[in-house]
Subunit: 487 residues, 2 copies
Amino acid sequence: LRLRATAKNAISDGQSHILEFLFHPKSIAIVGSPSQPAANQGAGVFLDALTSFGYEGNIYPVNPKVSEIRGYKSYHDFMSLPQVPDLVICCIPAPMVPGLVDDCAKRGVKAICIYTAGFGEASSEGRRMQQEIVELARHGGMRLIGPNCMGLYCPSTRLSYSPLLSRESGSVGMFCQSGGNSLALVIMANYLGIHFSKVVSYGNAADLAEVELLEYLAKDPETSIICAYIEGMKDGRRFFDVLNETTKWKPVAILKGGRTGAGAEAALSHTGSLASDERKWQGLCRQSGAVEVYGLEGMIDFMEACLRMKRPTGRRVGILAWGGGPSVLSTDDAVRAGVTVPRFSPELRKRMNQVISEAGSSTANPIDSAMLAVPSLISEVIRIVADSGEVDAVLIRLPFAVGGPPFDLATMKAAAEASFQTSHSTGIPLALVMPHGDTAESAGQFMELRRICLEAGFPLFSTTSRAAQALSIFIEATSRLEHPSGD
Amino acid sequence: LRLRATAKNAISDGQSHILEFLFHPKSIAIVGSPSQPAANQGAGVFLDALTSFGYEGNIYPVNPKVSEIRGYKSYHDFMSLPQVPDLVICCIPAPMVPGLVDDCAKRGVKAICIYTAGFGEASSEGRRMQQEIVELARHGGMRLIGPNCMGLYCPSTRLSYSPLLSRESGSVGMFCQSGGNSLALVIMANYLGIHFSKVVSYGNAADLAEVELLEYLAKDPETSIICAYIEGMKDGRRFFDVLNETTKWKPVAILKGGRTGAGAEAALSHTGSLASDERKWQGLCRQSGAVEVYGLEGMIDFMEACLRMKRPTGRRVGILAWGGGPSVLSTDDAVRAGVTVPRFSPELRKRMNQVISEAGSSTANPIDSAMLAVPSLISEVIRIVADSGEVDAVLIRLPFAVGGPPFDLATMKAAAEASFQTSHSTGIPLALVMPHGDTAESAGQFMELRRICLEAGFPLFSTTSRAAQALSIFIEATSRLEHPSGD
């Protein structure tokens, strides 16, 4: 939560970014709105989303076959609209799109979001049409989002491309070349109580592309954390220049689609994106202070870490686990994720042995003892570790909560609560893990513990590997922040 | 399920392995049984486990302070027992263990399982005592399991070291140097309806170690799949010789604890194991036809794949996904896991384009189309892919089931059922994925779909990465089987 403070002093020079207008349209036309929109699906989703979000501007459905759609007057064509809308959402078939773009640009529409697919990703004719619509838009001074995209989600101005997304505003800004991935990421995050400032699904990136979107979110005072899903780069050099500046102010995570050969071919079919050189890409990300994540879950873990973990000042982690085997595997996971698990000094081990006496326990880091089932002992162990200064964070791996004490949920809850309190009182960052095993019985217990963690404002990870990776990328993504802890 | 057939003709020469007696004790003494055993915990777990499993032999608790424990007559010491038990479970403090081992060996006990910790893993005095008890046991012709272990789980003879484990027998055999990891793995597997033939938690491996355990499970007609968690090797050369023979008959997966430097130090504290050279280890595993898995989840996925997936005859995978971004990431995941996602031939793409017509769809592999929400279309697409012979398996990545149609559970269920039927009718192996997002709302839907998959005998994976890894290790682990499909 400390990171939110950073956003206020961000890169901003006090002036709005040139794209700010995109998120404040006073009127929206949906051209090609289905006459009987199916909820959540296809072109019908836009009307559903705007009405269910309570969008306050004028909404103009355009469909030549009907006079009314869900209580809204429907217009025969774009030219018959009673006013020039600020934003047009285009859902008509691809061959008709150039004509619409021309009309919009000539009448002074500020931006058009093209949901329609079948352009640069599809065929040579599609590539030609994509080039044509970009030229028409630029000629008329209109910005073009997409084609082949979902467009804009901005809860504060009640813009959305799906009725399923949260109405609440948050501090995560995201640009995402895939509508499907943006939906999945927002929904997964929403379930965890994480909300967004602005999300842009920008598809083929024919006009509006990654550089401007990053610049916008870097300046945006509502955004403190930036996430990106990118398949291809329009202007890699400028992107990395902007990234290099942005990461001094806000943590940035990038999920790259099409990293493998077959994935790159899929990306070409998806958004017409040409993948960049893989190794060059990795190097540039690292140099510019952004972190790379793998998979949707990695991106969610990044958000949770930034929003809910105290930032460790170094990579040394103390591990607490019930049982030797889990503590060994947790240590392997941590090291593989890029943090270290240093052996405790003789002095610290001596102190630890005074509180953990049971045979079969390990006290040198990882700490492994069945005695950890006692909450007051967990608190004491965390306190001793925090006081020692020998580690920068604590990772606690709870066992399955599968049976009678001490493997029951009550014990796990008490352990979690003791951990939260001691993390607060000592200031040591904490990553809590409980495996959930993907089955109803075990996952039910995980979900209940998750609820308690959310209330306390701490993340809960389902594997030590995810927890350690979250710690590692959190440290990396915040390492260049000029005010990393907000003071 | 085809793999079960293999076990019947396994390595077995018709004779029982020398360790067979371990799983058929007619009487068991628990020396150091707590007078008031806490369920599930510490030394008390053994009496709980045996009584709750309905173990039919004589059980003799030994505790000098009481005359009865939970209805069983308690004996003052080992020497006062009315008969020589076949198996002794030892829970007394470490310094007293050599005396007990000496008594047992002298009186003709066949095996002793030493739960007590504080031996080779703890100190130089512990190492000395460990050496002493091994010599005493060998001198008396008695086998020693542990020390620092949980011992034997064999549902068919009602042996268990935890009341939480399944009473049902299955075909997975496991040896596990960590009691905690063995508990977690058995419980996770049990929840998924996977059951075990024999599990041995063997701790410090002072006497009974990995070579004999592998040999035993290789011969055991009840075991068709072998899993191992290993921290250190006593006799690496012989182990790999036995492994090399075993993998011709049964798939073997190994989870190695202590692979990293810090992990190896933790393993030394845990079971006194000295880690082997990492690269040499990997090479030997690969050469001998075993697969390495990472983390408990990887081991579970191996079991599910072996028991519930049809074996692909090659590594070419066709991917079906809703949405371009998910299909791109799924392709990256698949390639990273070691399978291939070949572009379809022009002929196959032409056929595919006849059934998938919607703009914005991709039909070249990965197949990405919102039309996949229609179950009959899924069936048709799978059938076309299967008929083509261009891929060896199909991976289907369902979207979150988060809202109204087509993102609701009913659509996902119908999609899953259509996939199962078409996999059956065409014979193409299938890996089904639905992300669950680790939250109550999304996981609830995942669990419901999981239930349907279990009923149909198919696995369900929560990420494409896990599904692709399961496919990949399944292919690898079964590549040397002499009768890989049981015929």
